[in-house]
């Protein structure tokens, strides 16, 4: 259980850091709101009420995708300031615990923004889901974890690159496409009530398990890459 202790220590530290600075929660919330407004102008929900429900799943997740980019870039830049990362590299605690702690912290932050976002979304798009709404409670966390865990891993990977902030989307988006597909289709299935999201939920679960394991196993390697 020492491993769990390390994970919790990292998690607590990240939560405390964010609470003290409130850096990206504020920024992220506002950014997401802006993205939503831009989407509303681009895909006017009131003029086309029929398709609003069809595309809202996609719009929601795209807005979240962009919002989480800001969160992810921020989360590691905190570790670069004052060279704290070297202190982590020299500690005997397993690096994967560092990853898991940070991924969970990012997950909590993005979920918070997501809840606010969803409420605003329902408002702006006059949505009422036609399918089993409770399934969203399953789909949203699974989708968010897929984005956040890979995002945390790849933004750590990008730390060593020249164009750090550009590298993250370049590397993350292609890998995430199957997960994006699954989360968008599952959400749309619930919103429109047209089909069952079961298949896509299974895809998301598989994706989450496989890539979380891969990230945990490879994190030590990339953290210590000289």
């Amino acid at each position: 259980m020492i491993y769990l202790g390390h994970v919790l220590a990292h998690l607590r530290k990240d939560l405390r850091l964010e609470w003290r600075s409130k850096d990206f929660l504020n920024g992220m919330l506002f950014f997401t709101l802006l993205v939503l407004v831009v989407f509303a102008i681009a895909f006017d929900p009131t003029s086309y009420p029929a398709i609003a429900r069809q595309i809202s799943g996609g719009l929601l997740w795209v807005a979240l995708l962009f919002a989480s980019m800001t969160a992810l870039n921020q989360s590691w830049s905190r570790e670069l300031r004052n060279n704290v990362l070297d202190a982590h590299r020299l500690s005997p605690a397993p690096a994967s615990a560092f990853f898991v702690g940070k991924a969970i912290a990012n997950f909590l932050f993005v979920t918070f923004v997501e809840i606010v976002l969803s409420l605003v979304f329902v408002l702006f798009y006059n949505l009422h889901p036609l399918g089993d709404t409770w399934l969203l409670l399953l789909i949203l966390p699974l989708g968010t974890w897929a984005l956040v865990s890979n995002g945390t891993f790849f933004s750590a990977l990008s730390l060593r690159t020249r164009n750090r902030e550009l590298m993250l989307p370049i590397v993350l988006f292609p890998i995430s496409i199957p997960a994006l597909l699954a989360m968008i289709l599952a959400t749309t299935a619930v919103l429109t009530g047209d089909s069952s999201p079961a298949l896509w939920i299974k895809v998301l679960i598989t994706y989450d398990i496989v890539f979380t394991i891969a990230s945990v196993l490879l994190f030590d390697t990339i953290l210590n890459a000289d």
Partner: protein, 250 residues
């Protein structure tokens, strides 16, 4: 250490013979492709398929060579640095081949689509999967380019190896997801082939071209690998030279 002689500028005999064999098979494949019976609906335009098919199949082979090489790199990194470098060179070469073959597969697929359906693109299962494959390995190449200012640094190799593992895991998930996506919302199936069944009369052309492009791919892969190894060696030699040259005081 390596059997490609350190200071030999001559190409070994077996490589020359292999190259000639490849050209011969390519030529024969071309002949077969052009002389195969004309297809009923598309006329001569369908012949692009003989180029599309081998490239798309092979573009799924090279990523796994890349994945294997990346694993070997990670494994040998601290145990056998010399072999690790070779593995890294191979990983780079096979990634570039993937992008090359996926590009050709996409381009020929689009030509086929244009000829058969009159549109350049549709988000059908096959084309979308090739596109994703292409995107994945272009992002790999970009990561290699942007990581570490020093082209010889192990930083590049380690980070790309990690991405390669992720990409290789992603490919089957992509393939299945997109397939399921398109069975829910069917669209015109581009590029007939594995599913729609090939008329046996075309088999010789298909198989000869398959062999030809496989040989060609292996040739380019070997060439690129040798090139990368030379670059690595040149870089090492330069570094050693810089170290041993007494520096003037600042």
């Amino acid at each position: 250490m390596n059997n490609t002689a350190n200071n030999s500028k001559r190409i070994p005999l077996w490589a020359q013979a292999y190259f000639l064999l490849t050209l011969a098979v390519l030529a024969f494949g071309f002949h077969k492709a052009m002389t195969a019976p004309t297809e009923a609906t598309m006329g001569n335009l369908y012949r692009v398929f003989f180029y599309h098919f081998p490239h798309t199949i092979l573009s799924f082979v090279f990523p796994y060579l890349n994945c294997a090489a990346s694993f070997l790199y990670l494994f040998w990194r601290s145990r056998n640095p010399a072999r690790a470098r070779a593995a890294d060179a191979f990983a780079l070469a096979s990634a570039e081949l993937t992008v090359l073959y996926a590009s050709v597969g996409l381009a020929t697929g689009m030509l086929w689509g244009r000829a058969a359906w009159g549109i350049w693109w549709a988000w059908d299962a096959r084309l979308t999967t090739y596109l994703l494959l292409w995107l994945l390995y272009v992002s790999y190449l970009l990561l290699r380019r942007f990581s570490g200012d020093d082209p010889g640094s192990s930083n590049t190799a380690v980070l790309s190896a990690a991405l390669a593992v992720f990409a290789a895991i992603d490919i089957p998930i992509c393939y299945m997801s997109i397939r399921w996506w398109r069975t829910q919302h069917p669209s015109p199936v581009f590029g007939g082939g594995a599913d729609s069944g090939i008329d046996p009369v075309f088999f010789p052309a298909v198989l000869w071209n398959m062999a030809a492009w496989l040989l060609w791919g292996a040739f380019i892969l070997g060439l690129r690998y040798a090139l990368e190894r030379r670059r690595q060696r040149a870089h090492s030699d330069l570094s050693l030279h810089t170290i041993s040259t007494p520096q003037e005081s600042l």
